[in-house]
């Protein structure tokens, strides 16, 4: 499906708002992970405003789709998407990482409505998503499970354990997005420890693989619809993204993985996102 131009404009506006929130939150906390939050914005926007079946008034609704942020350090992006979607008031966002706030440094399912799994230790979320998908299959449920992985995160062996299991159990109710921003903390994934080639690896593990521009809402939604239609195989959508996307001085800079912008830098970033 091609996105209706009006809808596309609305989604792009949501993405812009989410990016602004991310900058404000991390600036206010003076800690957090802007790079991998900004690269995932379109993926989360597509999920929370177009793809997933949700009811913010009933966050535990049995028929809801589930989302697992396996790369839990992108919590600011997830919190912003949840707030914009109406799971909690947006003014809570500025409490990120503060003492007593439900908005922990990494997602805590016990504290925030709409969070389906506590994550933060990389490599674990995909297994949890597989468990949910297995439960959905057992119950012959119509809800689906979505998950977002980092590309560096794929260096964790547990990712491939889960990949093997998802194909073995034919989890066609599981759709995974790979935030392929090609950077991790210590630099490019190819120089730290090359996990590529991704499409060949995932295909060899028995997955249906698509590759999209991870900042194109149209491409993300279209690939997701194709994935939803597939049977017997789990799906991964490899999203080519730019780490730090939308803020010129953060783009493609490994140094902005886990660094907070100063007040001055935040002003400049917000001006670019205005």
């Amino acid at each position: 499906m091609v996105l209706d131009p009006e809808l596309k404009k609305q989604l792009e506006e949501k993405a812009r708002l989410i990016r602004q929130h991310i900058i404000r939150m991390i600036n206010a906390a003076q800690s957090g992970h802007p790079g991998g939050s900004l690269s995932a914005v379109e993926i989360l926007t597509a999920l929370y405003f177009q793809i997933m079946r949700l009811d913010p008034a009933k966050p535990r609704w049995a028929e809801r789709d589930r989302f697992v942020l396996s790369k839990g350090h992108a919590a600011p992006a997830l919190y912003a998407a949840l707030a914009e979607r109406g799971f909690f008031p947006a003014d809570k966002l500025l409490t990120l990482r503060q003492l007593g706030s439900p908005l922990q440094g990494h997602p805590d399912m016990k504290k925030v409505p709409g969070i389906e799994m506590s994550t933060g230790s990389l490599g674990q979320g995909l297994s949890c998503a597989c468990g949910m998908a297995l439960a959905g299959k057992l119950d012959e449920a119509s809800w689906r499970v979505y998950a977002l992985l980092g590309d560096g995160e794929c260096q964790e062996g547990q990712i491939w354990e889960a990949a093997m299991a998802a194909a073995h159990y034919e989890l066609d109710n599981l759709i995974v997005y790979l935030d392929y921003n090609r950077l991790q903390i210590d630099g490019p994934i190819s120089t730290v420890l090359n996990p590529e080639p991704f499409p060949d690896k995932w295909r060899a593990f028995g997955w249906q693989v698509q590759t999209v521009d991870g900042h194109s809402l149209t491409e993300i939604v279209a690939a997701t619809e194709k994935a939803q239609a597939s049977t017997a195989k789990p799906n991964i959508i490899i999203c080519h993204t730019v780490k730090g996307k939308g803020v010129s001085f953060m783009e493609n800079e490994a140094g902005w993985h886990g660094k907070a912008p100063s007040d001055e830098q935040a002003v400049q970033a917000l001006a670019e996102l205005a």
Binding site: T119, G123, L126, A165
Partner: protein, 313 residues
């Protein structure tokens, strides 16, 4: 004595009974279903059994996801792998989000025997006990195992159940009822209190008989719930003024440590720990290993005598 049964065998039966009652109960294993005794459940309920393969990290994570979606997953592998190989997964994907996963690990302790040190979990209680909100249960025999597994199934929250490979004497009757959080005096006594768990409970009972012959009346307490451990019950039981702890586990971090922590704070009491003395195990027949690592009735009785000698006059 009413014969000998391995606690893992009782576990295999318990999950089948519970599987009939609880539709949400699912079982996961990591290529050890013959040894952990989940194979019986797998045969009867193939659609509710998931073999995750030799991938313990994914085993724990998958169970977490199943629990998050309303299932009651029972997860089995050897205790070494459940607690050591997948510690971060148990911590971050199960304990921290308080998910309703039941980790029922078999082959705990030195009585694994011939497989040797790589397979003998002697620190699993210490690891699991340190995780907030995780209930830690160590049944002493087959009837208690059935009750413990049932209690775990109906308890809302993560549970670690420690099970053994070797056959152990049956000390409880079929009508025995386990209550989570309760420690139980199996034999009254006024001179010394022996806290034991797992297979050491039956050994402590034998030790109490030999102590009686020496004129020492030993109280024997089965501490099947290691966490949460109630300071009041421990202090009350320790009123004899001398304490021995026994476990098929390292003396570091297990039942002995748990009891020592409570008594040091609430009611300082001479205490002797019977357990594996901060060493790895080795291959050998289970009974010989119990001898070698000083986990026999004789060792328990000797510790009791030492504890009594240290009593305040």
């Amino acid at each position: 004595m009413k014969g000998k049964i391995a606690t893992r065998d009782a576990y295999g039966e318990a999950i089948i009974e519970l599987g009939r009652e609880l539709k949400e109960l699912v079982v996961l294993d990591a290529d050890l279903s013959q040894s952990t005794k989940t194979a019986g459940f797998a045969r009867l309920f193939p659609e509710r059994f998931f073999n995750i393969g030799i991938a313990e990290a994914n085993l724990m994570g998958t169970a977490a996801g199943l629990a998050a979606a309303g299932k009651i997953p029972f997860v089995s592998t050897f205790a070494v792998f459940a607690t050591g190989r997948a510690y971060d997964q148990v911590r971050n994907s199960i304990a921290y989000p308080e998910l309703n996963v039941k980790i029922c690990a078999t082959h705990a302790g030195i009585t694994v025997g011939e497989d040797g040190a790589s397979h003998q979990a002697l620190e699993d209680i210490a690891l699991m006990r340190a995780l907030p909100g995780l209930t830690v249960l160590v049944p002493a025999d087959a009837p208690e195992t059935k009750q413990v597994v049932r209690a775990a199934a109906f308890h809302n929250g993560p549970v670690y159940v420690r099970l053994g490979r070797s056959e152990v004497p049956v000390i409880n009757n079929g009508d025995y009822e386990f209550k989570l959080g309760e420690i139980r005096t199996l034999r009254p006594g006024t001179d010394v209190t022996i806290f034991a768990c797992g297979l050491m409970v039956s050994i402590a009972l034998v030790a109490a008989d030999s102590l009686q012959a020496q004129g020492i009346e030993a109280q024997v307490v089965n501490a099947a719930t290691i966490k949460p451990l109630d300071p009041e019950q421990i202090s009350l039981a320790a009123a004899t003024g001398a304490v021995v702890t026994c476990e098929e586990h390292s003396v570091i971090g297990g039942l002995g440590s748990a009891v020592a922590e409570i008594l040091a704070e609430c009611q300082p009491t001479p205490l002797e720990r019977v357990g594996v003395k901060d060493v790895f195990g080795q291959s050998g027949p289970a009974s010989k290993l119990l001898d070698l690592y000083q986990l026999t009735a004789r060792d328990v009785a000797a510790a009791a005598t030492r504890a009594v000698a240290r009593k305040q006059p």
